[in-house]
């Protein structure tokens, strides 16, 4: 591939170019085959919530985990932690983040974007914004439905749980932003980014989180769990497991660290895209 053309005077700025790419990419992302996978992924918790609601309505019983009673709010907290934070958000980050540039390379369409009179990093930035908006608009309504289905069961209260919901929505946006940025970097650096992403998400992160020491600071999950507000049920295996995770940074540290991760990884991704020579396989 040839070197990127120099932006001509009067050409759109980085942000304007990024917004143009965002506009094009959002539709592509939403109506791609990947969205089917996303729909299944996000439909799961909603179906589970419906099932819990039906069971609670039919049997009028509270939820129990290892004998510990759980209100609807606690079940919702557990679903947010185990399904969304520990699974859906990283998976979305991996699948969408790694594909931002890699897909264009695989489809051999990267040339069309890189030959436009815009900075190359604007392509990555625009696609990243599209990823954040696309996943946010899908994940947040799913969480909202789960909240209204699960929280009123087993004695939970909408009014009491509402502040936690707002915090959860904010945390999910931060999580999607951070994981997306990290995997965007992986996508621009590595040839097989998906495998590396999955290894990082389901190998590295869960493993180092269980060990004491500083290694866990090299994960996104460590800072993300600092933003989790939910209390876990007492006297259960889950609570025991949560006690292991309880070594968490403060909210300010978490937010600052995640902001640094996002800015740094996006900057490195931008630099990689600007300077890397993409070879299109014939």
């Amino acid at each position: 591939m040839t070197a990127p053309p120099k932006p001509t005077p009067g050409a759109p700025t980085l942000l304007q170019s990024a917004m143009r790419v965002f506009d094009l990419s959002l539709g592509q992302m939403l109506w791609s085959r990947r969205s089917l996978f996303l729909g299944v992924l996000l439909g799961g918790p909603v179906l589970l919530a419906i099932a819990l609601r039906v069971v609670a309505a039919l049997y009028e019983s509270e939820f129990k985990i290892n004998g510990a009673q759980m209100s609807g709010s606690a079940v919702f907290g557990l679903m947010i932690w185990l399904l969304y934070i520990r699974f859906i958000v990283p998976v979305l980050g991996v699948f969408y983040g790694t594909s931002l540039i890699a897909d264009e390379v695989d489809d051999k369409t990267i040339t069309y974007l890189f030959t436009r009179p815009i900075p190359r990093s604007a392509v990555l930035l625009g696609k990243y914004f599209a990823y954040v908006v696309c996943t946010t608009l899908l994940v947040l309504p799913s969480v909202m439905l789960v909240f209204f289905l699960v929280v009123p069961t087993g004695g939970g209260r909408i009014a009491e749980a509402f502040p936690a919901l707002v915090a959860d929505l904010g945390m999910l946006i931060v999580g999607l932003t951070a994981y997306g940025a990290v995997f965007a970097l992986v996508g621009t650096w590595l040839k097989r980014p998906l495998i590396a992403g999955l290894v990082f998400t389901f190998g590295w992160e869960p493993a180092v989180m269980l060990f004491p020491g500083y290694l866990k600071r090299l994960t996104v999950a460590y800072y993300l769990q600092g933003l989790v507000t939910h209390e876990m049920p007492q006297d259960s295996a889950v609570s025991l497991l949560m006690q292991v995770f309880r070594e968490v940074p403060s909210i300010a540290t978490s937010l600052l660290s995640l902001a640094v991760i996002v800015v740094l990884t996006l900057w490195l991704s931008g630099r990689a895209v600007e300077h890397r020579e993409y070879v299109l396989e014939q």
């Binding site: 506009d23 959002l26 539709g27 939403l30 109506w31 609601r53 609670a56 309505a57 009028e60 509270e62 009673q69 209100s71 609807g72 908006v133 608009l137 899908l138 947040l140 309504p141 909202m144 439905l145 909240f147 209204f148 009123p152 069961t153 087993g154 004695g155 209260r157 909408i158 009014a159 009491e160 509402f162 502040p163 919901l165 707002v166």
Partner: protein, 342 residues
């Protein structure tokens, strides 16, 4: 952006806006008492303020129709006077009008000047006009409170010298009778629902109490749960008596009334040691009672049904009182009443 994408963004934002709006309204204003799911226990619990120390429930319809009730009715026909008196004073026929009742006791609220009070929520079929007229005849006055007619009896003076007994029809088929402050709270909860911002919360938010209610609900047609320590502290017992009381925090009684009565009395103590001590005391009493009953065959079945159980901080005593015991009680009562008749 294509039209399809634009529609998707709008729908997604709409779901978020509706959800956040609803949550915000719930947070600041609260939801009506009937909104969303049931926490367990009768619906009337949503009208009882959070700081209740005792809650009791009775399925009046089932109890009235039970074989035991019929037996008592036949054995002691004179006992219907109280029922007749209630009907004359309030127009409420306990036998036909009331389906179920939920009652509560509340502690003295220090610093607020509110005395300890109680409230009974009865669900059934009531002639509102007749009841109001009868209460007015007895000196009650009607005032409007949040769109409900609050019939307060000013002639009743309970410690404070203020009008403290009131009656209100909270909704069709549901009458609340009790201290005026509690009736007002019940109306507040019914109209506005829970509102953490104004500290207006129902007993359904009291997790300890409600989990006990849930364990008893649907196991029988009458039950009561409460805080034993709060009751004991309000009873103003002499120091030497209070110090002898077992360290019980919560108690619950659940019973099923039909041919006889079978049920369970549960007590939750402060710690395992207190539970062990309480078990020893109950075991002693049981041995004594069995000894006493050995000469009375009609009581032996009941004594044999006593079973002490529970684990950890919980002490449970299950019992079954057969109908024959009530025959004996009826015979004794009739024998005692005959000389009075002469």
């Amino acid at each position: 952006m294509t039209t399809k994408t634009r529609y998707f963004v709008i729908v997604s934002l709409l779901v978020l806006a509706v959800g956040l709006g609803t949550g915000l309204v719930a947070y600041y204003v609260g939801f009506p008492a009937s909104a969303f799911a049931n926490r367990g226990g009768p619906d009337e619990l949503r009208l009882i303020p959070r700081d209740a120390t005792v809650i009791a429930f009775a399925n009046v319809r089932e109890v009235m129709a039970s074989e035991l009730r019929q037996k008592i009715h036949r054995a002691l026909p004179g006992q219907e006077n109280g029922q007749r008196e209630l009907q004359e004073q309030t127009g409420i026929n306990l036998e036909t009008d009331v389906d179920r009742v939920v009652a509560c006791l509340h502690p003295e609220r220090d610093g607020v000047g509110m005395p300890a009070g109680g409230m009974v929520l009865a669900r059934g079929r009531f002639d509102e006009t007749k009841i109001e007229a009868l209460m007015r005849e007895h000196g009650a006055q009607v005032e409007a409170y949040k769109g409900k007619r609050l019939i307060a009896d000013n002639s009743i003076d309970l410690q404070t010298g203020k009008a403290s007994l009131a009656l209100a029809f909270v909704e069709p088929g549901l009458v609340a009778l009790g201290s005026t402050t509690l009736i007002r709270s019940a109306i507040d909860l019914h109209q506005g629902g829970e509102n953490p911002q104004t500290d207006l919360q129902s007993v359904t938010g009291n997790d300890e109490l409600i989990s006990l209610v849930r364990s008893l609900d649907r196991t029988g047609n009458a039950w009561a749960v409460g805080r034993f320590d709060a009751l004991a502290s309000q009873a103003r017992l002499p120091q030497n008596v209070a110090s002898q009381l077992p360290a019980i925090t919560w108690f619950s009684v659940g019973a099923h009334v039909n041919g006889g009565i079978r049920g369970v009395i549960r007590a939750e103590t402060r710690d395992n040691e207190a539970a062990g001590n309480l078990r020893d005391v109950v075991r002693g009493f049981m041995a004594l009672a069995k000894l006493q009953a050995s000469s009375k065959p009609e009581l032996q079945t009941m004594m044999q049904s006593l079973e002490l159980g529970g684990a950890g901080k919980t002490v449970a005593l299950s019992f079954a009182v057969p109908a024959e015991v009530f025959d004996v009680i009826g015979a004794i009562a009739n024998k005692a009443m005959k000389p009075l008749g002469h």
